[in-house]
Symmetry: C2
Subunit: 135 residues, 2 copies
C-alpha cells in the first residue's frame, strides 16, 4: 500500500462542490478540453514561472507554430482566463503575454500528472485469473 | 500570493526525468490522450476507491454506453495499465474489473485538476493596458 491509497476514496473530496461520478468525469473532461492541443501546453510551459513574453518571443520560442495559430491559441487561453495580455500604448504597440495567477497555479497540477505518468509500472499485468486470487 | 506560488518554478520539478518545456508539454499531452473520451473518465470514477465491478454492473451503471464501446474502452484502459481484468474460470465465466494500483493513484491527481477548475476566478481580466501597470 502506498500513501496515496489512504487519500483516495470513492470520489475526490476537494474544495469543489460535492460531485457525482458523472459530474466529476464531466468536470475533468472540460479541463482536458481546455488544455487540448499541443500548442497550448507548450505555451503554458513557456510562461510558467512568471515568464513575461512578447508575441515575437513566443513565436521564436515555438518554431513549429504559425503566426495565425499562435494568435488563436493565445486568444483562447485569454478567454479561458489562463493567459493575460498586456498592451502598452506606444508606437509600434508593445504586447506582452503572461499567465494569470490561476493559470500559474496549474503548474503543480500538471507536475502531478507528469509524476503520475512517470510512476507507471514497467509491466502492468492486464489480466489476472481468478485462480491466482484463490477464487 | 497563494501557497502555490512558492511551489511553481520555470518547470515542474518532480520525480520524473528532467524535462524541457517541449518534453513536459508532450508528456502532459500523452496523459490527456490516454484519458480522452468521456467514457474512460466515467469508468475511472466508477472504479475509484477500490471498487470491483462485473461487466454487467458497469454496463448498468453507465446508461449511455453501448456494449461494444464499453468493451473497447475497458480494453484500452487495460492496455494502458489503468484497469485490471480478473477472469474467474467458471461456467458461465465471471469477469471483474478494478483499477490497478497505478490507476487508483490517478484519483488525487484528477482531484487536483477539479480543484484547480473550481478555483477559477469569477471574472478574469483578459487584457490589461500597460497604463495600469505604470508603463
Amino acid at each position: 500500500m502506498t500513501s496515496t491509497d489512504k487519500k483516495v476514496g470513492n470520489l475526490p473530496e476537494g474544495k469543489h462542490e460535492p460531485l457525482t461520478r458523472e459530474t466529476a468525469a464531466a468536470g475533468v473532461e472540460s479541463v482536458l478540453k481546455m488544455l487540448e492541443g499541443r500548442w497550448k501546453l507548450v505555451i503554458l510551459f513557456h510562461l510558467f514561472g512568471g515568464q513575461v513574453m512578447r508575441f515575437s518571443e513566443l513565436e521564436r520560442a515555438i518554431p513549429g507554430i504559425s503566426q495565425k495559430m499562435l494568435i488563436q491559441q493565445l486568444r483562447q487561453m485569454e478567454d479561458d482566463g489562463i493567459v493575460r495580455r498586456i498592451v502598452y500604448p506606444q508606437v509600434p504597440p508593445k504586447v506582452e503575454y503572461l499567465l494569470t495567477e490561476w493559470g500559474q497555479s496549474l503548474c503543480p497540477v500538471l507536475d502531478a500528472l507528469l509524476n503520475w505518468a512517470a510512476a507507471r509500472p514497467e509491466q502492468e499485468q492486464g489480466e489476472t485469473s481468478g485462480d491466482q486470487l484463490g477464487a
